[in-house]
Subunit: 344 residues, 2 copies
């Protein structure tokens, strides 16, 4: 029976199709490849059989035989629940799927070990390359040799102890500009709520905050600086503590959306107007800014980070391993948006 295998619940194979069409497997392969050298009637018979059996070519077997592209690209992010990374993933998707590549998604939860496992696994699945938001400070498992010279593009954080293409956000510039706005509004005591300094973005954004002060001939009061915050609750607590002190800041700079949320909560609870500037836009920030807390948002296009990473990767995939030029780095710009902000 031609359908024997298919009837088993197993997927039909090329041979099943061939048998049904009364040709050899090779001919089926040719038809599916749009090889010109196939008779018109043979062709129709084969296509009819394909259709009747619901046959789909086995891409795994195909790429095994062809020895090259699997059509799979790994995407490793730290936290998909963060809108930044889901937008990034969407940007990656958009570009890669337009090129016929599928995305293998993994979430590390910011755990370096899990990242190691995930990367090993992607290699085992013969991905054509991967885009990674690195979780730890050690990236030896991402070094070319460790991934069989597969192309790797880093997103959001730069390579450390290795070389690779990467797409960054203008963390320094954005933080500097946001802080400068607060200063030019007349704020002189500006608190800082940040994520751990080991994370690149946190460190850069702190540098920007500091640089803006220096440029204005000011020095931040370090008693109002909190780094190492990771969630909204911690940020809120830190903000409350800072704002409750004597000579409390009149403004707060926040390094990401979680910090900003904590700050907004604290300021809202406080009842006293405190200006907030922070990275990452969020839904309804405009309404919230006008309504209650003056908001200065350092925004950027997260999709674009993903799109650029995907494009860099595509270029590398197109090249023979080791053939390419040196690692490239591209920086996605930020822009500052102000809602309900006014001089202090």
């Amino acid at each position: 029976m031609a359908r024997a295998r298919a009837a088993d619940g197993g997927a039909p194979t090329m041979r099943d199709v061939a048998a049904r069409a009364g040709v050899s497997a090779m001919t089926v392969s040719r038809v599916l490849k749009d090889d010109p050298g196939v008779g018109a009637d043979t062709r129709t018979r084969v296509l009819a059989a394909v259709d009747a059996l619901g046959y789909r070519r086995n891409e795994n077997a195909r790429s095994l035989r062809l020895g090259g592209a699997s059509g799979l690209v790994g995407l490793v992010v730290t936290n998909l629940a963060n809108p930044f990374y889901s937008r990034l993933a969407l940007g990656v998707q958009e570009v890669l799927s337009a090129h016929g590549l599928r995305v293998l998604l993994s979430n590390t939860g910011e755990h370096a070990e899990r990242e190691r496992d995930v990367v090993t696994d992607l290699v085992a699945h013969q991905v054509d390359g991967m885009i990674v938001v690195p979780a730890g400070s050690s990236q030896s498992h991402l070094a070319p040799a460790a991934v069989h010279h597969m192309p790797v593009v880093l997103a959001s954080r730069p390579p450390a102890g290795m070389d690779a293409d990467c797409v960054l956000v203008d963390d320094f510039g954005g933080a500097e500009e946001g802080t400068r706005q607060l200063i030019s509004d007349g704020h002189r005591r500006i608190g800082f709520l940040g994520n751990p300094p080991v994370i690149y973005t946190g460190a850069e954004r702190f540098r920007g905050y500091w640089a803006a002060h220096e440029a204005a001939g000011l020095q931040p009061d370090e008693q109002f600086v909190r780094r190492g915050l990771t969630d909204v609750a911690a940020a809120e607590a830190a903000a409350r503590a800072i704002l409750g002190a004597a000579d409390a800041p009149t403004a707060l700079f926040c390094t990401n959306n979680r910090m900003s949320q904590g700050a907004i909560r604290a300021v809202h609870a406080l009842g006293r107007p405190v200006a907030i500037a922070g990275f990452d836009d969020f839904e309804l920030s405009d309404v919230l800014g006008v309504l209650g807390v003056p908001l200065t948002i350092v925004a950027y296009d997260a999709d674009e980070v993903g799109r650029r990473a995907a494009r860099l990767l595509l270029e590398r995939i197109g090249q023979a391993a080791g053939t390419g030029q040196a690692a490239r780095r591209t920086v996605v710009p930020t822009r500052v948006i102000r809602y309900g902000a006014a001089p202090a």
Copy 2:
């Protein structure tokens, strides 16, 4: 040279490892499989070679030979930029990765054709099963035969014209309860902002809205009902139109976060207090509710939708095709949260 292939940039194969360890490929396979019948010293030699070459077993070749599980599961969502779906994806990830399965993610942008292509592609990549948020009303391409009897679980929307396991949200119940709250606050004219009725969630939530009215002996004024809205701008425009009419509603019910956002914008611009109830919680909804617009949120655990879908799929994958019982359906509950809401 043992490293000849690896040095080519190509990944080392089992034979490379075997050559380096001075054994046959078969022995390497045994070591990697933890087969007991291998000499202790042979074992160490093999592992040393694996390590030296950075060898990773080719999972594709492996699953081809084993003829079964690829370890891949397809996840097809309509819009990853929507927090609901990114949380769902996270829940799926969490459960599946704990079982050693990888997630192949695709975004359809709510296009039925793209969904067809994506599903075909997943089949071609030999996924062990898939979780789909169906985009169109026709789902013939998801029928068992079309996907080679691969397990399919639907999320967020029920099967139409076919049978499959699915995980839903209590759309009807949530909408009914949210609307009931508005009614018990004294609202009698409640507008409705909804997504197209062809989308299951939209239809169900409208039913809930209507049922709550009926239960209270009321009848919704259909001139204040707008369905077919798809984005924030359209929702805002609709809300402005409704609220600008004579005898305008004193409250609005919104079927999702985009509708709610549009409504919040419109109400905020209006300056007159209008109560808003809507599906989907969002960041800082509490602050916003207290600060400005009274908010009644119908919330639910999107991660849980993903987790349940993943568990249903795992059960099906464990079974022989066609062996399983009838399609199951599970409903994730909603809960109503109120921020700054008060009697009209």
